[in-house]
Symmetry: C2
């Protein structure tokens, strides 16, 4: 999942504090710029951030409404998992 990675969360959090470029993030994080670029590509693929080119640099920033949507999606998935667990439990305990 797009948010299963710790570094990805870190990046998203920093973008929340201030939109920035891959190179700028690479200066703050212990990983290479390219690694960060790949994370940003994932975040952009799921619509959590958008990018604007400004001169020679590309600035990324979070997308508010998508954050909401993803949050709801996460809750839905979580609910589904617990629902399925409940189902297994009922089966395991032989209740109707």
């Amino acid at each position: 999942m797009a948010l299963a990675d710790e570094t990805r969360w870190d990046i998203l959090g920093r973008l929340g504090e201030q939109p920035s470029s891959a190179s700028a993030l690479a200066r703050e994080l212990p990983i290479s710029r390219q690694a960060i670029v790949k994370h940003l590509e994932v975040l952009r693929a799921v619509g959590l951030v958008e990018s604007h080119r400004r001169g020679r640099e590309v600035v990324y920033e979070p997308l508010g409404h998508r954050l909401d949507e993803i949050a709801r999606e996460l809750e839905r998935i979580g609910a589904e998992w617990t629902r399925q667990l409940g189902l297994v439990k009922r089966l395991a305990e032989g209740s109707p």
Copy 2:
């Protein structure tokens, strides 16, 4: 995560319907017995199933109370994720 795998869910579901052994499951599923054994080891490691040896076979079955606990854990993790997303959103939108 222990429940991220589709096959693992499948196995857990089948065990809910009826406790069974790795070999028995291997007859129903399209994967090898050893692959199933590994899934069962994971499920047992997180406490979702327990195993009893009966003669030459080892029977696995789900653990009701642990299913509840895991469900609660999942909800907690989901809630945490959405909370963090909300945090990013607030930061991104510059609200206090």
